[in-house]
Symmetry: T
Subunit: 160 residues, 12 copies
């Protein structure tokens, strides 16, 4: 049942669709691993990082909604079911159980860097097929790069 | 590393811990399947159900946070990672791709009923071990039963 | 037409249903008698009690909605029609026409005490059949007992 | 005890008083039947009409307060006790138990039309005796006519 | 300098102008005597009446602005200068120095009754010349009659 | 298809319907010409008048909604389509391109005066047929007369 | 009188100017046809679509303001007068009188698709001449595509 | 009846009392003359000055309340009755009827300068007797001097 | 003077009264020691813990009010006077003068653990006598256990 | 450990420190006795005084925070522990158990008067050593004198 | 110390870094010169321009923060120290002392035009190296061009 | 052009003018160095101090506006141009490039201490010439001393 007609040509739909679907998986996964870290965090910087992680989760949830609705708006049904995330999500996240604050900061920097690199590829890929989607990916990248900087700035002092 | 000491005796921890962990998985899973339906819904009742699903998702997200923090508060690290949800989540949800409004209503009634039945067992199980946890599960059940009623009320007219 | 299936066993439904229906009648009746007093009050304490009565009415209205939706959620259609209230409501209220402030305080203490006594019986009765309903009745009782105290505290000085 | 002196002549009081008292009964009754329908509604349009009925109830409650306080302001104690409503209220309302959405829409159109017809008679009757009361009745009529239109617009498709 | 042209005929301007100007004086004067009572009040009901008087003052100030801007909108410059109020204001008010709560209630009932009687005359007078102005005077009267009722309800208990 | 039954007699419908429809056209047209002036305004008083025009537009939009819903509530489908406005709108407005501030003030005074004159005729015409509609037209006139005064007060200094 | 100097070269002004002016007409027209449908809608889905249309109108009004101010900021006086809209507006809209809900959904899908197709041409045309304007057109397209999806999702069930 | 005991010695009361009473008269008078100008203003700067005058009035009203309650707090009943203001108020204000914008600016500068000069004398006088009162007068002076600057800045260009 | 009659039997009053009174003392004491730490804290984590302590104080103040009003509502006058707290309060708190952040975290964990242990005993004791009171104590315990977890999570890193 | 360096000379620190520490004790004690009265109040004026006492408590809590943080800002660790308040607090307060409204008013007047007298001495003492602290004490005194007036105004009627 | 790793290649960093750093200096400088004009403005249009300048300052401050955080997010430490602004800022601004309103408008048009020209060069330069930065610069340009239009629209009347 | 007349004698103007002008430079400079630190901060306490610095900047900006408007109100044109700040600002600030959290805390303590010392001199100097200005400087000092304490409390642990 292909019920919602697309407003862009067929050639452009595949690239745009893949860019949106993989971004959706990254953002939903990030919202889950961010919450996992938010709950299992221990260490003297608990409160600061506990709050900071909730900002990442809030951004990831809001953007996942925009991305999925953008896919639907183009006639491409998005897929955010638990089993899809489990099989398609590849960004690093915190291990099971309590996690020290320094480890959380390290894994967030790593995870956000991976997400940003993937987003930058999709920005390039969608420039031609759909500038509207590209513009959305640029906005998401700007936000994730800001979040990454903040964790990186906190991370730097470990090697002193 | 068992870092946060519990405030309830060891005998009570296992039952309480299992009740909270399985409730967490149900709620996180529900927040994902609810969003999936929210995005892929089609049919004449689109707008009404689109909005109603967001209320289920909002409730599921808020309660998942309370449940996970309750587990942490008892010294039991909660587990909400993507792979855990994928393997432990058992409630029914929408299939891949566009879904008709009548099917979404049916699957939401079914999914919420299953979640409620599981919660009622945990309410009974935690009464002795930890009345504080029991009180939280009662609150969640009241909300999910209200949501179920609303979908059931919409569902009823199909067999007329 | 029994359209909304219940999530509790048949044995539990009768007790729970009667507890909710009779609480609904008490609260809707109280919201009407509270307003009657609010409008017909005279005496030097007019403004204080005029405002205080509106808090009772607001609480009664909000709780009546929660109670009725709880009944519906359990598959028990609530009955709050004018004729039902007129025949089933038994709490004392203000007489017709202007009422002096001291008389209003006296009748509110009496009315709230009767409502509380009835609620405490239902709390006991629903503990086994449906702890979710019991929890709601406890919340209502706490609020009405607080309101009763405030009228009682104002009432005390009459016998000086 | 006739404690609050009137600001209008005796000849004007009777007509004005009857107009206000019967409007009060209509509005309080409507707030009860509207809630009854809000709770017992079933059918595919459940959510839309469930929300819409709460707007009718909110309007009826707010106006009942203004009407009753207007009567008191004119030295005429209003009567909104349960027994008064039960005996004096004549507008049609939903029957006991679950009610289908199409039936609720029909009964709301009928009930609001009856209320409006009665209000228009009172507008005419109060023009001379008290233009301040007339102005209030005009405002209420405008709101109820708007609500009736919306139910009527939903009702129209039945006879297609 | 007659700078703002009127939108009503000359014959209608005089009656409308006098109605608005004398209402303006009554309202500005009432806002001053209300504040005087608010500040100099003593007695066991201090707090209740202190707050109630501020509601009268707030209403008087808001309406005085609407009335004056209505006059200006009709090309009739309003006059609210201190000397005008002092010479034209005739409503009773509190005496100099501390005033007992019972006396304040009595003088407010008396003052509002006088204001209402004057407004009702102007409502009649402006019906023909300018129904827009009449509608504004009706709104003001409704509010002042409500305020009068509240003071009257508090006043009644003195003669018990 | 005459789908929404009217609550007023046929004789009253024509007058009321014409009054509402022509008011709707005036208000929608005014909201467009007001914005046109808001955007194309130049001159030293730019900011003051730029903001003031937005208040006229906001009032015109809000009232157009109330007027159209009033017509619908009476069973008279309102007509606010672009082609209708273009053919039926007769109030003066700004010319194409940049417009000087003094010219904008002049045209707004002229346009509002024309709108008010037309409204006053409709107030008279609807008094008998439908006092509810008349009351709405009175409210709109009061607001437009206030807006006209403010532009007139700014306009006055040109002929010095 | 060419009073506001442009910040982009002459060659770029024509393309940008045409893109902004035609977008302005589309959005103003859409705000009128959207309201027309909002008021004249009938059918069982009345309330859902009544509200949804107001979101389209709100978006159209906000964007029309941004687009017109962008034109002015570039020294190009925008033209949004009633006669301009009537002659230049080409998007389909609802017919005169009551309109069925299914027809409204169909015409909104059609109208938004036409608007989107026109916007995508302008996005391409303005990339070189003025990337700032292009960015604004991209934002508008994203919003209209989201609105179109929602109507399309509701529309799909007709051909079942 | 000297009912509220003072918390400062008798010697300090007279100076403080006179400072507060004369400040009260200045502020209440200013709130009346400010409104008079607000309503009767004409000229091209109408809107700017119309809004600015309301800020003066709002400040004067708020401070008059604080000053009067301060007097009461010291056991000195304040006097703000219409006749007191008329006889004791000496600051210049606008004449009767329409007033040009340039004249309003001039009279506001003059009036505020006179008020400030009088306040500065009272600041000096109350330093010893009651530093709490002095602090309040300092706050009022700061605000009035800011208001005076703004009118003075607007006034300056006349002599160009 | 035993002025407010109880709504629970005498046998239940003693246990309930003691539970509420000792909880009141714990909460009031905690609000004082929490503020003491808030003010005297020093160390690199100053800002994080300074803010976190204010959340504990806010919760303690809000709950102390609910607990005391619950006692009053049962006819048991609560005792929160300074001398009562000083003699009855037994939870550990910060010493006099500046306190290091690590020491504050340690004492807060210790203090909250003691408060929770005492609350859990009272939850058990009040289950029979007054389920309404028990429900309130459960809510307080849930909040304090959450606060304890957060301090414990920050405390854990000391022994690394 | 003297960790926060002072910004005022040693000679000024002792006077300032004592003024702040004793004000802190007065305010914290007042917040406890105010709440005690708020909870145990009985009598016909219950509601008015119940609310008024909460305003005193709110002011006392806010100012105690400002005072303690001011001490810390000057390098003087404040002391607000339960044992300190119990030993250093000397203002009168309500006795144990229920207290009549007239007695509460009397003790609040007495208690606030004592607090004000002590504050006025500290205002004088800190003028030279630290004008910043003096300014804060002046602000607190103004507020407490306003509160005292209100209770005194209510108290006056006892000797009638 | 190069502590925050960049997410873009080295080749892209220099261009992007220079674009962000010079934009930061322009915006911080503009926020200072805008305030300078806001404070020193004199002339009959004082109030309008005084408020308008604060909008420029608010925009400049908000964007300077976004720009600097964007630089940091890319691993490029931004430089906004006073000495840097003084040496690198080149946009024209108001002279020392009072400035007439017409001169302020002229210098703001000139200053914003210079800033826009510089931004348009950077938009072109960053298109390849970092589309995320380019997107931010486009947003800033759109806002400054809107501000420039408003000052230009006010400026136009000088050459009349 | 000395356009705004002063309300204080010539002798007082010089001292007051110098106090305000040098405070303005300190506050504007502090707002720039605070932002510089906010952006370039690195280290494990990043988030806490990042937020804390924004509170310093917000306070500095708000007070700089009040100080400059106070100068203007006294007829003394303030000077906050970039070149003035660069040449007159003497407080220490962060160096160029990334800065460690411990260094930021140290420089903020130092910078605020210098600002406070300079303010205390000006408080003394302005006591006679202009108590209104002195009052403003006292308020600023209180806020900066509070900010200094917070950084000092964080700084203390370095020498452990």
């Amino acid at each position: 049942m292909s019920v919602v007609k697309s407003t862009i040509p067929d050639s452009a739909r595949q690239v745009t669709g893949e860019a949106l679907q993989s971004t959706l998986v990254d953002l939903l996964g990030l919202s889950l691993t961010g919450k996992q870290a938010h709950w299992n965090l221990v260490g003297p910087r608990f409160r600061s990082i506990h709050l900071q992680l909730d900002e990442v989760v809030a951004a990831a949830r809001t953007f996942s909604d925009t991305v999925a609705e953008r896919a639907a708006a183009l006639g491409l049904p998005p897929d955010g079911r638990p089993e899809t995330i489990a099989s398609a999500f590849t960004l690093p996240g915190p291990k099971d159980g309590w996690v020290r604050d320094t480890d959380v900061v390290a894994v967030m920097v790593e995870s956000l860097e991976a997400a940003i690199a993937r987003l930058r590829e999709r920005i390039e890929a969608t420039a031609g097929p759909d500038p509207v989607t590209q513009d959305l990916l640029i906005t998401i990248t700007a936000e994730l790069e800001k979040q990454r900087w903040m964790f990186a700035a906190e991370h730097v002092s470990r090697e002193d």
